[in-house]
């Protein structure tokens, strides 16, 4: 997928919210920035465990 299509694909997440052309261009630039950030963070964190917090009630103990 080329850059323009990738950004357009992401903008589709906006559920049809209308923005001016200038806003869309500014948002597209930020989205591209975010993609670079994710790539950097992916490399930085690749040996770190995935988060694995569950949702048991706080304070619950074995046998209680």
């Amino acid at each position: 997928m080329n850059d323009n299509n990738r950004v357009a694909h992401r903008l589709a997440f906006l559920d049809g919210a209308a923005f001016s052309q200038a806003d869309l261009e500014s948002m597209a630039a930020e989205i591209e920035d975010n993609e670079r950030i994710i790539a950097e963070l992916e490399e930085f964190a690749q040996t770190t465990p995935w988060i694995s917090l569950q949702v048991q009630p706080a304070g619950k103990k074995v046998g209680s």
């Binding site: 992401r10 903008l11 997440f13 906006l14 559920d15 919210a17 209308a18 923005f19 806003d23 500014s26 948002m27 930020e30 989205i31 920035d33 975010n34 670079r36 950030i37 994710i38 950097e40 963070l41 992916e42 930085f44 964190a45 690749q46 770190t48 465990p49 995935w50 988060i51 706080a58 304070g59």
Partner: protein, 472 residues
């Protein structure tokens, strides 16, 4: 006592005089409200002023104290709160057009605790919309101005709270922080700002910015006042899933300027982008701490070069989840810059968010290891003094888009990791604007942070300086 003298008193002095009935809550609240109304057209620090309710509450406080029913150090004291906290029967806007007329039925936990402590809430302060920003210019109700120079920003998002305390409109204010929204405005406005460890103060009934980074924090002119204000509102609250079990708070009782032998780490690599005036003031502040018996050591935490971008991406994704419904229905009612930010956040995928959280864990482990070597990490709070309003949003010069040794990483890592942090005034720039230093402690070392900040204030008088702001 005349109004001007009352407004010079800090919380500690005001409190004992009210308790001793040397001055009344009514005259104190009246003085604060008068000051507020005289300065509001210059500062725009408030969204809602509670003159009638505060006047009635102050009279009740005076009656209770006269009957011997004294509730503690905040009894009868005028305080302000950021308009992020729900107040029963009083509109709560979040700085947004979307909630411009919304009146909640219940109080936030913070408000419940303040009322129980007998504090008199005189107003709800202006902010960046729902806490999305670092300038307090992104409010539906217009920008907040800095009391030291009204052509400059107060910082955000709790800018109205910081401006109010700096201008002498009440000795204490409560705000929130997701990225740097207490420490930054405290630094820009020349006052003390403290954000405790994640979970120490309940967030129940306050709007969420990003749930895993949101904190309640507070502003005052001295560390002693901060500890009194913290004691009144800290404590376990089962309504906030992040709230932690804790003993009855006694930060003020345990406050002592005892730092001899304490190791303070300075991450020098992150200070290259700091302006010369800020660097000079920071080095002088470190010398004060060293002369008081601290050991100042260099500390290198290279993982922190990813902190600002990790914090920013976490906030962006989490705030989208919170705003999704309003955004779908009313995105045109948001402040335009905030709407664009939420829109960009909506394009972050779940797997990308999880990648960001892995990075956050790696940074946490590096910082945890650093706190095995030092008790406090110190840095300038901000890399420069408060920007001019005319500089726009770029004035804050936050570089959050790339891994780097930019100072903005220092600003963003404490909230992202839930660490206790205090910003306190350490000097002025050549143009007369305040400069701040932040002292960051390990998780639940809130008392250590407060004690080290008190030790600094015991040796200096920067926190006693007031802006020469004339009513008008």
């Amino acid at each position: 006592m005349i109004d001007a003298d009352i407004l010079q008193l800090d919380l500690t002095d005001l409190s004992w005089r009210i308790a001793a009935r040397q001055i009344s809550s009514s005259e104190t609240v009246r003085a604060a409200l008068t000051r507020l109304e005289q300065l509001e057209n210059k500062l725009n620090a408030f969204i809602t002023v509670l003159r009638d309710q505060a006047t009635v509450a102050a009279k009740q406080a005076d009656e209770e104290i006269a009957r011997g029913k004294y509730r503690g150090p905040l009894h009868g004291v005028p305080v302000t709160i950021k308009d992020m906290f729900e107040t029963a029967g009083v509109r709560t806007t979040g700085g947004s057009k979307i909630l411009a007329d919304w009146i909640p039925n219940t109080d936030a936990d913070l408000v419940e605790k303040l009322r129980a402590a007998g504090a008199i809430i005189i107003g709800k302060t202006n902010l960046d919309e729902f806490g999305h920003g670092g300038t307090s210019t992104l409010s539906h109700f217009g920008p907040v101005h800095n009391p030291w120079d009204v052509e400059r920003i107060a910082g955000g998002s709790s800018g109205g709270s910081a401006a109010a305390v700096a201008a002498g409109i009440g000795p204490l204010s409560y705000g929130t922080e997701t990225g740097s929204s207490v420490r930054r405005p405290a630094s820009y406005c020349g006052i003390v700002g403290f954000k405790p460890t994640f979970g120490i103060i309940s967030r129940h009934g306050s709007f969420r910015g990003a749930w895993s980074q949101d904190h309640v924090g507070l502003f005052a002119r001295s560390v002693k006042d901060i500890s009194l204000g913290l004691d009144a509102v800290a404590g376990y609250d089962p309504r906030d899933p992040a709230s932690v079990q804790q003993d009855k708070p006694a930060y003020a009782f345990r406050l002592e300027a005892k730092i001899k032998g304490m190791k303070i780490g300075v991450p020098r690599r992150f200070l290259d982008s700091v302006t010369p005036a800020v660097k000079e003031a920071f080095d002088a502040a470190l010398k004060v701490l060293a002369d008081a018996g601290c050991e100042i050591v260099n500390i290198d935490i290279p993982e922190l070069r990813y902190a600002a971008m990790t914090s920013n991406m976490t906030s962006s994704a989490e705030s989208t989840g919170i705003n999704r419904r309003w955004f779908r229905e009313r995105h045109q009612d948001y402040v335009p810059h905030v709407a664009r930010g939420i829109a960009v956040g909506m394009t972050i995928t779940a797997s990308e968010y999880l990648t960001v959280q892995r990075a956050r864990q790696r940074i946490r482990e590096a910082v945890r290891s650093a706190y095995e070597r030092v008790a406090i990490i110190a840095s300038p709070t901000t890399s420069r003094v408060a920007p001019l309003l005319s500089e726009g949003l770029k004035g804050n010069s936050d570089d959050t888009h790339h891994a780097s040794f930019n100072h903005s990483n220092m600003l963003r890592f404490p909230s992202m990791l839930g660490l206790p942090g205090c910003s306190l005034p350490i000097g002025f720039s050549p143009e007369g604007m305040p400069i701040g230093m932040q002292l960051i402690g390990a998780w639940f070392a809130d008392q250590t942070v407060l004690n080290s900040a008190l030790a600094y204030q015991s040796e200096t008088d920067w926190h006693t300086k007031r802006p020469a702001l004339a009513p008008g």
